[in-house]
Symmetry: C2
């Protein structure tokens, strides 16, 4: 039975694309990490194609590792700070949503609540916070720590952080502002609430000095695949950026997360499950493969080792490309994302050479990216969508803007032909376009409940 | 002897102007705290007049006090978050500089270094950080504290915070980026430096994941008038937002701060002393006074008491307007800014009624705002400028945009006629327009020094 909703689509942003050789593509702007024009173009193309949002990944640290490899890999070494990046891009666009990553481990909840509230106002309702607890020891080193905090501690802090932010966002009820010059009263004092949060990690009085936003409150995105991550997503997430593994595993993950939502009083429609997929498209399969090969062939071996090592949280410097993956360098367990780690771990244990693994990862991330014709890619997306393994996709284009341009030119028309993707935006806010409701303001809800 | 440089001018931004009744002025946009159009207009008018910058004041907290008074006073209760506000405004303007306030007490240096670096890139070199340590207990309550930290502790943390930020901004030398697709090398690995800061308040490894900015590094503004504040300004500030007191006192302050700069190897021209003045202009003195009176007459007595109490860090609820200031409510010493407190304290001890004091403060801040004709205002500014009591002014318009419009229409032409203010921007960055040099990158400087 065909679904009656439509696919949601987002453009994943590392400056020059998912492939570390993305910046070597002749169509990319080598100044794109410091001049806005490059990513403004990516935003404008995404908006013209009626995508839901642009998703800005982040890590508040430069990478640590082989200096020669890093000097060839701009992504983590030189990039825009995401909160300010999406603010600038939102100011220069009209309808596209913007997702920015910010870490609960390294910010204060009052600042984050204010910043996203402000972006939501500035953009007319197009802001989304991608909530992460951070990974990699290198982030901890920049924030008074000796490495990454343990997973359980990061989640404990992250959950309390989110609760504080939600509480602050409810400070002003939606109709609190009176703006009445006649009486001189700006807001209804009975509709402004002081939070008085006193928890283990945070003591935050409030209220937030920002009125309810055009979306009611900003949208929440998350990515965690761990047990704690799934539970937090079921309770709070509205976009889940999941790992694309297989239609079966993603279908199970989809159901697992959505079935938990009921106990939090949430409708399953209010969470959009969006696997990240690496998409390489060409008019023919050979042309698509040639585009991938151009990038992978340009991937310096040092960069390949660094890229995979970064992902697996290990140092692969000097490891031989034509030998099997050096298992002794594989950590027993990851400090960061368990799901990502396990997914690629399975592939490693099949005995591939390191060189093969690097090519595989560069092409398909953890395995279910797709290289092919517009029809093949649309088939893939339709199958996952109809099987409820996905409500949409976060598209991890190998190089920007070329891979995005290809997708918009070749795949989007095919998705529209099948009735899978919108021709016009449904609304003016990200929430309206995603088709998700606004969680009720807690004080309004209590009053309605007669409490 | 006439100075051969020109006045610098900045527009001070509370959303609706300095006077809490500013929002009641018919020309202001009552939605201005949540819709960008209002402050975008303020920015565009400031830019068309060739002002140096827009200065966004801030406090990361709603005010605490008489609920009825607060409900009539939007300024601190509902406002844009300044980092995102200036980013959006910069994206929609071309030449105006933007100063945003952010507190060293409630942020992490890695985040602040990144954010301002990013804004400087996004704006093409127009970013300035107004460094504050915060005042008022209400800010501490939102950040895990039982009130404002003691002055000495705030400054100790603030100074170390600034040193970390400066160190991070030097991570990439100015010519570190190679962007060489031929060799595949993005930056020169010998020109990227790891900070490894280990101090009392912060441990920050670095490097910053952002290249040197269009201004070399963002501009630094400060306001502190205490001994520690003056020393920090002499060492690090490029704009000083000082209290306008009297030409004699400001002249002494000007010399005091500038004479300290030599021991830090800085030229006095690299710091612009800019007192904040409240300007009320009319074609005639009577017209100017009528504009002030409109606002002050619209100031509800509760709001007047709250406004002055907020400034003096005391609660004046219910105090009688026609009696002398209730001295028992005046704190022995302020928790926040000492200079502001002392200035108004002198006025209080002259025995004025509370009502008079409120009118005085609303019209002239601490005493040297000016209400008058274009000629009188230009005379005032010229006198302070030529006496080196000021290098320019931060204009605290009572209501926005009306007071700004008046100033641009009536006073700016008079300043230009006298050769005191520019007709065109000198450069494309804030630093170029202010005429201040870029502090040298520490690693380049050591290499040049043969270290």
């Amino acid at each position: 039975m065909a679904r009656d909703d439509k696919l949601k689509l987002g453009t994943f942003v590392y400056t020059f694309g998912f492939n570390p050789a993305g910046w070597l593509h002749p169509a990319s702007d080598v100044n794109g990490a410091n001049k806005i024009d490059h990513l403004l173009n990516v935003a404008k193309v995404s908006e013209a194609a009626k995508f839901d949002f642009m998703f800005v990944a982040d890590s508040p640290a430069a990478a640590i590792g082989d200096a020669d490899a890093l000097a060839r890999s701009p992504t983590k070494m030189n990039r825009f700070e995401p909160l300010t990046l999406i603010t600038a891009l939102a100011a220069m666009t009209d309808r596209l949503g913007f997702v920015a990553t910010a870490s609960t481990s390294y910010y204060e909840p009052y600042n984050i609540a204010r910043i996203f509230s402000s972006i939501d106002h500035l953009s007319g309702g197009r802001a989304c916070w991608n909530v992460v607890t951070s990974d990699h020891d290198e982030t901890g080193y920049n924030f008074n720590r000796t490495g990454l905090d343990p997973h359980a501690l990061r989640y404990e802090r992250g959950e309390e952080f989110l609760d504080v932010v939600f509480g602050l966002w409810d400070s002003f009820e939606p109709d609190a502002l009176l703006l009445d010059r006649q009486s001189g009263v700006y807001y209804d004092k009975d509709k402004l609430h002081t939070l008085n949060h006193k928890g283990k990690h945070f003591q935050v009085r409030g209220p937030l000095n920002s009125a309810a936003t055009p979306q009611g409150r900003p949208v929440i995105a998350q990515a965690g695949g761990s047990e704690a991550g799934m539970e937090l997503a079921a309770r709070t997430a509205e976009i889940v950026f999941s790992l694309a593994s297989s239609i079966e595993r993603n279908g199970a993950f989809y159901r697992n997360v959505k079935e938990r939502m009921g106990k939090y009083g949430r409708s399953q429609d209010d969470l959009k499950m969006m696997p990240g997929i690496v998409v390489n498209v060409g008019e023919t399969k050979a042309e698509a493969q040639a585009k991938v090969d151009f990038l992978i062939d340009n991937l310096h071996p040092d960069v390949g080792r660094w890229m995979l090592g970064e992902f697996l949280e290990t140092d692969l410097s000097g490891a031989e490309l034509d030998k099997p993956f050096p298992m002794e360098r594989l950590p027993k367990e990851p400090k960061g994302s368990k799901a990502l780690f396990e997914e690629l771990g399975d592939f490693i244990r099949q005995g591939h050479t390191l060189g093969h693994l690097i090519r595989h990862y560069a092409e398909k991330s953890t395995g279910n990216g797709i290289t092919g014709t517009p029809k093949e890619i649309a088939d893939f997306m339709e199958e996952w969508f109809e099987a409820r393994a996905a409500d949409g996709f976060i598209l991890m284009f190998p190089t920007l803007p070329a891979s995005l341009d290809d997708f918009v030119e070749l795949v989007v028309p095919e998705l529209r032909r099948r009735g899978l993707f919108r021709k016009e935006y449904e609304g003016s806010t990200l929430r309206q376009n995603l088709g998700i409701s606004t969680p009720p303001n807690r004080y309004v809800a209590s009053r309605l409940a007669g409490e």
